[in-house]
């Protein structure tokens, strides 16, 4: 029976591949975070018109032929880029890896909207005659598409699937990867999350209808969690995939280790489709701490989920205040303030932005907080300037999503 990561096999992160609106490698991304550089830009999409988004500029042709880009989806392409980068970063002797023992676990907020919208739009030009509907629609929209494209690109014959977990998906992918390693379902997990969401007008339109789509004259200042003048979410694309291994395997091959997953938890609000529930969030955080055998005072950095919505930010701060309000040690930041909300990639991408703190001892700040909302005041909130820390031992990463899905992971320096 699996109860905690510590009682069974210890699981570590050994490679990171990512694309973020402000960087296509961990190094670029970290530099941007420490320099306060936003990745949000002007953006335009059908029906919605001019808006803002976090847009990635990774080189898709680095690991894909042009035909493969055309055949597949943006989420698949993001996943392929991140997976290849992670394997290269991990220094794995890929040619001699048993591909049947590699598992691919990719978190997604949604999948298929982009292709469906494109097809319906195209079909309109043919008077809705379905003989013009693409035969590519099904393979592009099946829910395992991004993970499946990764297996095709890398010749992986182990298990693959996507974890649909709204905006908790990035964390959920990491948790799934760890659990499958502990179960022995795979020896190497490619785990994380991807987002192609800026290519669906529906997500922008829906947030707009909900009164939750950010606007600002200066794109780089639009994503502003905890600020009094925040007015919604900036949608972003992106991806982040880890190579995860059992600690014993990683040590045996002399792998570089970014950190160990020592605690995780997921739970459900069971209260509302969109409004978060701080009680359940608090429970989720405490559950992860309990599994890790840690007190709140031992967490050095809390990477928040806050998206820049009016109520959502307050709810998370309420949950964190209850858990970390008495901690002198804990510093709290928010990475969406730089890149917007990278949906299925958000959790794992935001965690990755913080992992270099194990080496450089710096907590990157939340940017765009000109006037801190009194209801978002938290002890330890890092705003505006990077915060030097003595030594970072533990990072806790929140990631929450619609339908009341909560996820927390805790990573320990190794």
């Amino acid at each position: 029976m699996i109860s905690t990561a510590r009682e069974v096999e210890r699981i570590v992160i050994t490679g990171i591949g990512l694309t973020s609106p402000n960087g296509n490698t961990l190094r670029e991304y970290r530099e941007a975070l420490l320099a306060g550089r936003s990745g949000v830009s002007d953006y335009e999409i059908r029906y919605v018109g001019k808006t803002l988004a976090g847009v990635c500029d990774y080189d898709a042709l680095k690991y894909q032929k042009r035909k493969e880009v055309r055949r597949g989806t943006r989420a698949g392409s993001v996943g392929i880029y991140c997976a290849h980068e992670a394997i290269a970063d991990a220094g794995i002797d890929w040619e001699n890896v048993d591909r049947g023992q590699v598992g691919v676990y990719i978190g997604v907020t949604e999948h298929g909207n982009v292709e469906t919208e494109n097809e319906v739009y195209s079909l309109k030009g043919y008077d809705y005659d379905i003989s013009f509907w693409s035969h590519h629609h099904n393979p592009r929209t099946v829910a395992n598409n991004p993970a499946g494209e990764i297996t095709l690109s890398l010749g992986i014959t182990g298990p693959h699937y996507c974890i649909g977990a709204a905006c908790a998906a990035g964390n959920a992918g990491v948790i799934q990867g760890a659990q499958m390693l502990q179960l022995g379902e795979c020896d190497l997990a490619l785990a994380g999350g991807v987002s192609e969401s800026i290519h669906t007008f529906g997500i922008f339109a829906s947030f707009k209808s909900q009164g939750a789509l950010a606007t600002h004259d200066d794109p780089s200042r639009a994503s502003r969690p905890f600020d009094t003048d925040r007015n919604g979410i900036v949608v972003a694309e992106g991806g982040c995939i880890y190579t995860m291994e059992r600690l014993s395997d990683a040590k045996a091959r002399g792998a570089k280790i970014y950190g160990e997953l020592v605690g995780h938890a997921m739970n459900s609000d069971a209260t509302d489709f969109v409004l978060p529930n701080p009680d359940r969030q608090e429970q989720c955080v405490r559950k992860a701490l309990g599994r890790a055998g840690l007190a709140p005072e031992q967490i050095d950095i809390v990477s928040t989920h806050a998206t820049g919505t009016g109520l959502g930010d307050i709810q998370e701060c309420e949950a964190l205040r209850r858990v970390f309000g008495g901690s002198q040690r804990t510093r709290i930041n928010n990475t969406k303030s730089y890149i917007g909300h990278a949906m299925g990639a958000a959790g794992v991408l935001e965690l990755s932005g913080n992992l270099p703190a194990f080496e450089d001892g710096v907590c990157h700040p939340t940017i765009n907080v000109d006037r801190l909302d009194p209801e978002c005041e938290l002890p330890g909130l890092v705003i505006g300037e990077p915060r030097e820390m003595k030594k970072v031992e533990y990072i806790l990463n929140n990631s929450f999503g619609m339908l009341g899905i909560n996820s927390v992971v805790i990573i320990k320096r190794v």
């Binding site: 032929k65 042009r66 035909k67 055309r70 055949r71 003989s131 013009f132 035969h135 590519h136």
Partner: protein, 86 residues
């Protein structure tokens, strides 16, 4: 459309479907599959593009007619000779 124009149309469609292949050396009498990286989904793309651009329907039983450039042009000629190239 002349046969040469029909060939140009097919070539243009192929450029979109298989952008990594060099089509300048394509031999008209040899099967596409022997020269290009084409699978069954790609052949469906050829059929779909002909349908979208010229409203020409290629029934499934005739797909084998699209094996090579020469056979494709010969097959399409009666259906496309009276159409203007777009």
């Amino acid at each position: 459309m002349t046969n040469a124009e029909i060939r140009d149309v097919i070539l243009n469609i192929l450029e979109g479907i298989t952008p990594d292949d060099d089509l300048t050396t394509l031999k008209d009498d040899a099967p596409f599959r022997e020269q290009l990286e084409l699978d069954s989904m790609d052949f469906l793309d050829i059929v779909m593009e002909i349908r979208k651009r010229y409203r020409v329907q290629v029934p499934e039983e005739d797909y084998e007619q699209l094996a090579s450039m020469a056979s494709t042009v010969a097959y399409l000629e009666p259906m496309m000779k009276d159409l203007e190239k777009v």
